[in-house]
Amino acid sequence: MTRLKAIPRAHLIAGLCLVALLVYPVINPWQPYPQAVMLLAFLLAVQASSWNIISGYAGYISLGHSMFLGLGSYTVGIVAARWGVNPLWIAPLGGVTAVVVAVLIGSVVLRTRGHAFVIITIAMLLAAQILAVNFKSFTKGSDGITLDLPFWDRDFQNIPFYYAFLILMVLTVLFSAWIRRTKLGTGLVAIREDEGKAASIGVDTTRFKIVGYAASSFFIGVAGGVYAYYLTFINPVGSFAILGSVTIVLAALVGGRGTLYGPVIGAFIVQVVSEAATVYGGGGNARVLVFGLALMVVVLFLPKGILPTVQAWWRARHPEKVEYTDQAGALSRTRVAVRERTEPSPAPAQGEVLLDVRGVSKRFGGLTAVDNADLTVRQGTITALIGPNGSGKTTLFNLISGGMQADSGEIWFDGRRIDGLRPWTRGHLGLGRTFQVTRLFKEMTVQENVVAPLPDSRWRTMLSDAVHGHEAARARELLDTVGLGRFADQPAGALSYGQQKLVELAQVLMLEPKLILLDEPAGGVNPSLLGRLTEVIRELNRSGVTFLVVEHNIPLVLDLCDPVVVFSHGAPIAEGPPSRIRTDPVVLDAYLGDDWADHGEDGPGDNGHGTTAAAREAVQ
């Protein structure tokens, strides 16, 4: 009984429903009509659950997903008709075709961000229809292909199909659940939430999206093969129907896209409504109208879908205890350990150049944000980059991390030229960054946020478990380090700004970085946590991590960093140890102001640089 209680409620309910569905034909065997409605609901659930992988998890909407059903049907139909094989045994071939086509389309369309994908999915569905009409030698054109009738007794007609589609549905849901648990799954959700940020933490967004698209096609292709046998007839218009795509989208949307069970729930609802519309509403015309209206109503009034809405309501009724940052834990001296990189490249010795920026420029229209800048960061240092707002510091960060491409110049990291590499490859090489305004994946939990980064490009890493196992344990450990272990299961969006900063640091550490670019780490962090933050940075630095820090909190910079580089108008104007920077007349003129020279060691009082009590303490 206690073991039963350990299973989450949702899975328990799903299991009970599954038992009921398994038993149903046994109890009520001679009713082909309800069985037919049910098996079509299973088929729709297979499609909606699959669609959910690319369009729910990754957020890339496909409006042409019924194409894979048609591809599966045609593959199996053609092979079965040519070689006289039973379609049921070769149904997986349909899945293979679907995956091949998905990879081909995906590798063209999914290389960029944005809207081309949704458009191409509609176009490809129609293109497939045209192909099926015109490739007469294979497909018999508009006449379609007729398959043999099922080999079993007519009395059993629907029951074998009922179980075939039920099994496929269960497999699809298990597959979807497995993907969501892997780092592939967290990566896909990360892409939905913030694709640029995902790329910066080592998620190879192109590959993830293509794999996600392919994964979302396989079971539909298999189901297409079975479906062809069920219909015993396939033709271009029926197999590549856009209305089929509409039902898929609608089902997933109604149930709740991005959730595991939502698309299945939606499939049952949509199938029943669709059946009712056909029976009582006067055929296909009514269906188009009903589906169109339903789609609009759902988007306007129930955009999250039924399941998440119900869950939100439940959570509002049963609030959890509010928890606070583990100040004591955060301030305790848990050792900060950096995991050894799995493939250690010969690390440059202390003091050797780790990052070398040579003559890099970046222009936005007429504005030159970074102007022929040189910058070197030596192994083992905490290098500061300071300068007035708009002097090009963050742009330089973006150029180094790969968020933007430089117009000219070279960037070398750890002996490799990296300015042509994609952001995730730079992440895999050991280059991590945080953002000035935190960019966490707000709808993911804190733990998922920290698990999401990928330190390398291996498939094994991508498919490793993100919920249990060493990756999750590592994430927990890092969260404890920054004092936020208690928040592991909270949505990241619920955290305060300062807490988010700390989570972002933990996230970057997951990359096993050699160099971390920190963009204003102190902004918005409360004084006691700021103390902890500097401590964490120091400890990490001692264990071999190099830092490049942009920060306006000058006392903190002068205390923590050596050397300090001063930027102005897109290029460095001074570099040296803090003691020299503090008194450098050029720097005083461009940035610090004369106060600094007058006040000497203690720094200024309230001079508008946002100095906090803690930061001043930190200097002393």
Binding site: A123, I242, F435
Partner: protein, 292 residues
């Protein structure tokens, strides 16, 4: 040789009409980042209205755009205010789904009211042609092309020479900046959506003469128009013009030298090839990938 010239000229004539149809789509995308999947359904709706006007009053179908254009302007305005304005700030995918649902509703309504049969407006000049040397130019194509060019020129004038147009372009390039200088994003968006819809007033009227249509034809049209916009670079008006020209040519050349069956497929192949080489489309600016 004559055949080639004939095919090229025809391709450009068709391309001009495509350009007009795609201009509204790209304008709406440019200003609002909304892909109006219902644009094809708008076209078919207008074609149906035009056909009906032509049957009842005998008005020339292309001239009927004088009526359908203001009608669609109002239709677009109301549609924006009632539907799309409600999901401002939601993720762009929601607008795709909303307009897709809208397209289905229009299709369903047309199915019920006008029936599920192919229609085509056939004015007196329907089967006549102008002859220039050895080349024959179908009158309907020429009239359609001229109407499309006039509207595109007017659109260009409005966008570049009037305050309204500058407001729309400002909102396209920098919504928050535009808001700062007094260009309200909401009003501009409604205006842009209305103008984008109004282009289907002329486009749909031309369509009713040049192509047989029925309610479900809108899928075919929207995927064609979206293809043009993707090819040209989303949000770019010159891009839509270039994309439409290229695809018009590709289509007629395939129809002339290959077969009519394959011409639509060539359309999609060209799009995929362009995306392979230039993912952002011909005139599309590469998006700034990082904005913090």
């Amino acid at each position: 040789m004559t055949q080639l010239v004939q095919a090229i000229v025809l391709g450009l004539l068709i391309g001009g009409v495509y350009a007009l149809m795609a201009s509204g789509l790209t304008l709406i995308f440019g200003v609002m980042r909304i892909i109006n999947v219902a644009q094809g359904a708008f076209l078919i709706l207008v074609a149906m209205i035009t056909w009906w006007l032509w049957r009842v009053t005998g008005i020339d179908p292309i001239l009927a755009s004088v009526i359908t254009t203001p009608l669609m302007f109002g239709f677009g305005w109301v549609a924006y205010r009632l539907l799309l304005s409600r999901i401002r700030g939601a993720s762009p995918s929601m607008s795709v789904l909303l307009t897709f649902g809208f397209a289905l509703v229009i299709e369903g309504v047309l199915n019920v009211t006008a029936g599920n049969k192919f229609k085509s407006a056939t004015p007196s000049y329907f089967e006549e042609s102008f002859r220039v040397g050895a080349i024959s130019l179908p009158k309907a194509q020429v009239f359609g092309f001229v109407a499309a060019m006039v509207v595109l020129a007017a659109l260009y004038y409005v966008l570049t020479r009037t305050w309204t147009g500058r407001a729309i372009r400002a909102a396209t390039q920098n919504p928050s900046g535009a808001a700062l200088v007094g260009v309200g994003a909401a009003g501009t968006a409604a205006l842009a959506f209305a103008i984008g819809s109004a282009t289907t007033g002329v486009g749909g009227s031309i369509l009713s003469v040049l192509y047989p249509f029925f309610p479900a034809s809108h899928y075919d049209w929207i995927s064609r128009l979206l293809g043009i916009v993707v090819l040209g670079g989303m949000g770019s008006l010159p891009g839509a013009l270039a994309g439409a020209g290229i695809l018009g040519l590709a289509e007629t050349l395939t129809a002339t030298y290959g077969s009519l069956n394959w011409s639509t497929l060539v359309f999609y192949i060209v799009i995929m090839v362009v995306l392979l080489i230039r993912p952002q489309g011909l005139f599309g600016a590469k998006l700034r990938e990082d904005t913090v």
